[in-house]
């Protein structure tokens, strides 16, 4: 702690009386800064901190430097799923896990390791993640401590001077925890950063962390869904969506407390992390229970101020004097967004409208508010949009020809402020990057204004919610989708529940949807991956003959009725061919998925030229099938593929071939799955055939 913190001045009116009656003065308790550690920083349903917790933890060091005498306290939060007693424990475990990381208390982690709670089990995937992060490859992060994990453990032991047994024994775990904590808990300089127990509110004096860290169970959500949403998502099959909507509520928040407040630790109102929720209920608002219940409208704490059930927690988060925007001074340019969050084009609602249309909803538009002062009308202006993490410019000259009119930057043609719409092609951010953006406005030759772009203040940045996986069972003019795969099955097969919206990994399912080819591009243009389970036919493009009359055999690539039509087979949906010509049509399909197209058709799907149409335009991989595919096999392989790709590899595109190779072999006989693109043995059909060869020798 700092020796001489600056004195604090507080003004107070007091009474002067003729008697000895006293006034009573106390310094109020308040938080002066906060750092959220979001759900995405934790392993799913677990208290284990993932490697990218660094992004949150590195914000602690500068605040500690700025407020050295401000004690810290941690609040863990769970969502409403599960009972409050369990959630109290889970939220407490998460807070404790962060506390242990900050003070480097490996014994706490050992305790969490030794005592799993429900799905919160550190004995499988967490140790693998730690080894992997520290550069010791444990193989797939699958929770199975197999030979590769043991080898990694051995290497770790050798590197740390421990007996190389390959067993994750207690001394190895201590060393592993310590090394991992140092790796993820750093300052902005990348060097390990830690706090002392004395830096916390309870000063580490209570063995169970009274006032140092606590769990709020499910009592202080940031977001409470509406009755309708709650009802819609209550079915077991919609669990994934419910968890998606609740992601912001699962978090740990670190508060710096005003050091002027005098806190008696034993009087601290919050029960200890391991205690039950009774003490929490005591601190509820008089309408606390009501606040947690869904109402007619969805509610957000930031907007409606009525989602925290705990009065004490809410008071802690209130600030005494709300900050006021300074006025713009002459010659200054100020830039800000009209909203804090946009959806990319055509994915404006979750779940999206079915079928999607070509209209661009308001949710997808953001206005760029650039205000000037004392700049002449007609002064040329341009705006750049940049990715907040990489500073990469993602606007492509579209916002170059603007001008100043009446103290604001406008589009010359309309006189209105410029608008912008995000699409997936507005990379180069990667799926694991935060989709946060800022803008720089250049006015005339000299003036420049930037919207805030401090990652510490995410609320000032523009958050875009990209869609990772679009799943469809119909993409063209067929009678409603064929209906062979229900929406719930699509959720389950696509492993959507395990996708991670907090990382910006979203997914959109369509089924029973009739989406004409003209809109196809709209559906998938914002997707990183596109999975198609369409009910379609393969026909000869020239004479329209259907090929899929021989369900048990390989799909012919030569028109059976006319050998003069080799290579002219094409996927038809209804009367519409969807082949290389159609998918290569930039007008119809303005952009293609970046990483994957998975053609999981139930009748026919192997169409090399079709795959190549995607590959040549930038999609990394295409998966298709060379044989008639039985429904159950098709679903099972897709299920296994997505489970592994999304859950084990967190949608890492480089892992697509590896995942394909590991899940495809059992299905070679029935479906002959083929991978096109990167990681396939060669380009196009030849490469696909080579992979099929390698898998089963069936080419």
């Amino acid at each position: 702690m700092a020796a001489d913190p600056a004195p604090v001045t507080i003004e107070a009116p007091v009474a002067i009386t003729a008697t000895d009656e006293a006034n009573t003065l106390a310094v109020p308790l308040r938080a002066i800064a906060a750092v959220p550690v979001e759900d995405a920083r934790f392993e799913f349903d677990s208290s284990f901190l993932l490697p990218d917790a660094t992004r949150a933890l590195e914000r602690v060091a500068p605040l500690h430097e700025r407020f050295p005498s401000a004690p810290v306290t941690l609040f863990g939060h769970a969502d409403r799923v599960g009972d409050e007693v369990y959630n109290k424990k889970l939220s407490g475990r998460r807070a404790r896990s962060v506390y242990a990381t900050l003070v480097r208390d490996t014994d706490i982690w050992e305790d969490l390791y030794q005592h799993p709670l429900g799905a919160d089990n550190w004995q499988g995937r967490p140790v693998q993640s730690m080894l992997q992060m520290l550069g010791f490859d444990p193989g797939p992060i699958d929770g199975v401590i197999g030979s590769k994990t043991k080898k990694a453990a051995k290497d770790f032991q050798t590197a740390h001077g421990l007996p190389a047994t390959g067993n994750l024994n207690p001394s190895t775990r201590q060393a592993l925890f310590a090394a991992y904590m140092d790796a993820i808990c750093t300052g902005t300089d990348g060097q390990p950063f830690q706090l002392e127990p004395a830096d916390f509110l309870g000063q580490g004096l209570d063995p169970d962390g009274k006032a140092d860290y606590q769990g709020c169970s499910e009592f202080n959500p940031i977001f409470v869904m509406s009755k309708q949403q709650d009802h819609d998502l209550s079915a077991a099959s919609r669990r994934n969506q419910r968890d998606y909507a609740n992601a912001p509520n699962r978090r740990v928040t670190l508060f710096f407390i005003d050091p002027a407040a005098e806190v008696v630790v034993e009087d601290w109102p919050c029960p200890r992390a391991k205690e039950g929720p009774a003490g929490c209920h005591k601190r509820f608002w008089s309408d606390g229970d009501h606040r947690l219940k869904p109402a007619d409208q969805p509610r957000r704490e930031r907007e409606t101020h009525d989602t925290y059930a705990c009065r004490f927690y809410e008071r802690l988060t209130l600030t005494a004097v709300p900050g006021e925007l300074e006025a713009v001074r002459p010659g200054e340019v100020r830039a800000r967004w009209s909203k804090a969050r946009v959806m990319p084009v055509h994915n404006s609602t979750f779940p999206p409208a079915t079928p999607p249309t070509d209209a661009i909803p308001e949710d997808c538009k953001v206005e760029l508010l650039v205000d000037t002062q004392g700049v002449a009308d007609g002064t040329p202006a341009r705006i750049e949009i940049l990715h907040a993490q990489t500073d990469a410019v993602i606007s492509n000259g579209e916002l170059d020809n603007l001008e100043v009119r009446g103290d604001r930057v406008v589009q010359p043609a309309t006189g209105e402020r410029p608008q912008w719409q995000f699409e997936a092609t507005h990379g180069p951010w990667e799926i694991w990057d935060k989709p946060l953006f800022y803008m720089v406005a250049h006015v005339g030759d000299t003036s420049q204004g930037e919207s805030p772009h401090d990652l510490d203040a995410e609320d000032d940045l523009l958050r875009v919610c990209p869609v990772l996986v679009t799943i469809s069972d119909a993409i063209a003019d067929t009678p409603a989708g064929g209906g062979l795969t229900t929406r719930d099955e699509m959720y389950e097969i696509g492993n959507i529940e395990k996708l991670d919206p907090a990382r910006g990994i979203y997914s959109v399912p369509f089924n029973q949807a009739v989406v004409p080819i003209a809109l196809w591009g709209s559906v998938i243009r914002n997707s990183y991956a596109y999975h198609q389970t369409s009910h379609g036919d393969v026909r000869c493009r020239i004479d329209g003959d259907q090929f899929n009359s021989n369900p048990a055999g390989d799909q012919p690539t030569v028109c059976p009725n006319n050998p003069a039509h080799p290579g002219r087979s094409v996927l038809f949906i209804g009367d519409t061919p969807i082949g290389d010509t159609e998918t290569a049509d930039v007008a119809a399909v303005p952009s293609v998925p970046r990483y994957l197209v998975y053609i999981n058709t139930c009748v026919a799907g192997f169409e090399p030229s079709f795959a190549n149409a995607f590959l040549t335009r930038g999609t990394r991989n295409v998966i298709a099938f060379q044989k008639y595919i039985p429904d159950d096999d098709a679903r099972e392989m897709a299920r296994q593929f997505y489970r592994k790709w999304t859950q084990v590899f967190r949608c890492d595109p480089e892992k697509i071939p590896e995942v394909f190779a590991s899940v495809a072999p059992p299905f070679v006989g029935s479906m002959k799955p083929v991978l096109f693109g990167d990681g396939a043995a060669g380009a196009g059909a030849a490469g696909a055939a080579a992979v099929a060869d390698a898998l089963g020798g069936l080419a």
Binding site: P7, E11, V14, I16, E21, T24, E262, A320
Partner: protein, 215 residues
Amino acid sequence: MPEQYTIKAGDHLTAIADSLGLPDTQTILAQSANDALGKRPHPDMLNPGETLTVPDLEPLKFTLATGKRHQLTVNRPKAKLCVTFATFQGKPTAATSAEVTPESKPSEKVSLDSGKLEKKIPPTCPQAQVLITSPVAGKPDIHWRLRLGHLARIEGDEGAFARLRNLGYYRAVPADTDARERRAAIEEFQFDQGLTLSGTMDDDTRAKIEEIYGC
């Protein structure tokens, strides 16, 4: 003829008595026109805009021998600053002493008895600084800038919330109308005192605030 006096910000009965040259507040309270004031539990506290009747000053008459030097003593009313410093959880502060500086007077170190400070001050002193040095290392010193006589009466919302604010419950700036903050302060206080959680400034709550605050 007794005169009407309109209360200004910062006025309290002792200061008024002193500025009028009265030896104590009794002379004012003895005015029959001030009966209602005299019946208040805290007649010392006055809100700006209130009026009271002040007695005429009768010239003091002394019969003194000439050719001698006399020392005349004028009795002035006594005023005392009484403050208990507490934690926001209602316990006395751990600090054991304070440095008090009434405006335009020298500083004086005063010990705190269970957080309580008592210090004689000039009756018309408008402001006093109290410096509390935390006994805990690393804690900042607190400069309390006390505006004497500025606490409004408990009967109005201004006075009630000013007390909640002094007690550490209500942190909004005076002009603030944040209903949420007010409700939070009231409920938190009601909870701490075992009152029914109503979220509104009801009579029980007001009475309890007065009791806990001290006046």
